[in-house]
Symmetry: C2
Subunit: 393 residues, 2 copies
């Protein structure tokens, strides 16, 4: 007994990802990194926008007292007020900084929410295919993950959610836009989900809607991500600047809470305390001050859109089947033959790295992350063609 059994199991569970990365790294050593078409990493490769560097420079020049000191666990009051203005616009709701908790990215936000609401054995529903880290986050706080199917186009299957609900259901996570499918849920779907939650809530049992929205700004074709926070009182929104400002290493994001949530004050106190005692203490001070100035800044989404379009055109021509992703930087493609692990191994022979859908609860598909240059995508297209042609034969 040295390392906890639970963490050993978690290491084992995530070992397939490690193996995949190791195989990818080996491939890069063998044939040269430039000859590997790496679509495996959901790692934003765009640099932060100019506004970020301006704000960073401004903040770095300041030697004002307390610039890098402690602040309340939920964040600087003026920062929270600024963020609340963005949330008001995104979610068509009236709130102020008191309903915002600054967090160490979306992952930090998810963890403080789950710590705040979960008792041992409580269930959280998520929709397949899903961001697999949710399983770990829920397990961190003694909850159980309950997975439900989506519809064939990856839209929300309300009936499946209703059937999965039990007396232990404490909340449902939606990831909008979705990783790994790129799906953006329609306002109609969101409304139907909120109606279901209203219907299922009772006086002594609140069911939380947790909307994880780190890709809210990364959407295409004039799609607008529906407001959520205003549609159901027990909603918590999680967001981060990892994708919208390409700052994934800086760990800055926030949780926004509907001010009409049941036991609102207790909920906010819980989030604040969870932020403290889970060891975050607070979101990084300098980055808080910077993002507060950047409510309307974002990376150039057209770059991702152009990549998506090139990738889609090439894959379509080659004969792959997929739904058009509305947002994020993922394309979730049907695996020819139906066995995603098998096909991903086949792609590796053509120096293409992808992630099998089974890791996201979506077997039969593979995920392509287009966090890579147009040039790489263009060079990969003939390889994708070779791969599907040699596989189907």
């Amino acid at each position: 007994m040295t390392v906890s059994l639970k963490i050993q199991e978690s290491i084992e569970k995530s070992s397939w990802i490690r193996k995949m990365f190791e195989e990818g790294a080996k491939l890069k050593t063998e044939v040269g990194a430039d000859n590997v078409y790496d679509f495996s990493l959901g790692n934003p490769d765009l640099e932060p926008p100019a506004e970020f560097y301006q704000a960073l420079k401004q903040m770095s020049d300041s030697t004002a007292s307390g610039m890098h000191g402690y602040m309340p666990n939920s964040g600087f009051a003026d920062v929270r007020n600024s963020i609340s203005e963005k949330v008001e616009k995104d979610h068509k709701i009236k709130l102020d900084g008191n309903s915002i908790v600054m967090t160490c990215g979306a992952a930090g936000g998810m963890n403080i929410i789950l710590k705040t609401i979960l008792d041992q054995g409580d269930e959280i529903i998520a929709i397949k295919p899903y961001f697999a880290e949710y399983g770990f986050y829920i397990s961190n706080h003694q909850g159980s993950l309950v997975l439900v199917d989506s519809n064939a186009d990856f839209s929300i299957n309300i009936d499946a959610i209703e059937k999965a609900m039990t007396s232990k259901t404490k909340g449902i996570i939606i990831n909008n836009p979705n990783n790994p499918t790129g799906k953006v849920y329609s306002e109609k779907d969101i409304d139907a989900l909120c109606d279901l939650l209203k219907r299922k809530s009772t006086a002594d049992k609140s069911i939380f809607l947790i909307s994880d929205e780190p890709y809210r700004e990364i959407v295409y074709d004039n799609i607008i991500v529906s407001p959520v926070l205003s549609k159901y009182k027990n909603t918590l929104v999680v967001n981060s600047y990892s994708k919208s400002l390409s700052l994934p290493g800086e760990r800055i994001g926030y949780v926004a809470v509907n001010p009409d949530a049941d036991n609102y004050s207790l909920l906010m106190a819980g989030l604040n305390l969870s932020n403290r005692i889970l060891g975050f203490v607070n979101a990084p001070a300098l980055m808080q001050r910077i993002v507060a100035k950047l409510n309307s800044a974002a990376v150039n989404v057209n770059i991702y859109k152009n990549r998506r379009d090139i990738l889609m055109a090439g894959l379509k021509e080659a004969g792959y089947e997929f739904s058009v992703p509305d947002g994020a930087f993922y394309l979730f493609c049907k695996a020819p033959g139906g066995d995603d692990v098998d096909f991903v191994r086949h792609l590796q022979k053509f120096n293409i790295l992808a992630v099998p859908g089974v890791g996201f609860g979506g077997p039969g598909y593979f995920r392509l992350a287009y966090c890579t240059s147009e040039k790489v995508i263009e060079k990969a297209i003939p390889k994708f063609k070779e791969a599907i042609n040699s596989f189907s034969k």
Copy 2:
């Protein structure tokens, strides 16, 4: 059922601190902040050293690719190598960057260690008086906190620790220099503790020594904090830059592991995964790069020393009893009359804010944090005198 019962209990447990802060804030509103002598907050009030601002400026000017992007969950390789050089000097041990995990401050470091080693019901020993957050950190990961007495001078009571050890003991936390006493453990005490742990370890059971050292650089009178990491193989050291560089809001620190630890590779994999799935993902990127350049920088410790000396002289003359603090910025003073809560309330009548020792498992004492100017301390001395004189009468 909205908020988890466990977090409600935690909110309740920490409510005395909130009440105290509320009373302090009320007092400041009533008599003016300048007329309140606030010794309650362990919040470093010195500004970061000039070297920090230079490094920040240099890093902020860089628009190099990936400056703010993801890196391995344990941190940038070059940063970890740089930190390992400091750890080598502090702990008289040979290691490299592979034995370092960059963390979101010491609180983040403590949480990833505890998540990695604890199974439900495992026990962690801490020495009274102790940093009360340990209780929350251990509870986060389903462990139990076991408190043991120190000696009268706050040195380590080896017998008390041995008596407290059970088959469930998974580790012991030392906080060196100690919050709230300012005690620095002698090398002899550290050696005796390590001998005990070696004696108690068996082939199938590793007992971890977790040395929490955020105040390592804040020591007085030429005291040197003993190396620990090299003295017992199953040691993990936690450190942060919150105090040494006055960056508590930036959440940057690290864990260093003895390369000879049992199941070392599994332990490192566990720390890496815990960093990821608890939601930290990684320590903030920009701050990692900055602290890597500042191995020999620190705030001017003489400022804290002068404050300590003025406070000690004044308290002694007034008739208070205390041990001379060797480090950190706390003085743990005997409460006249023996009831710390009672005496802290009495101090408030003289506009002095302090923290009752009972909150640290040290009833009969109160903690004074000298994170406040010499001027405030000097103005407070006559008030401390009035307080003790009016209380004893």
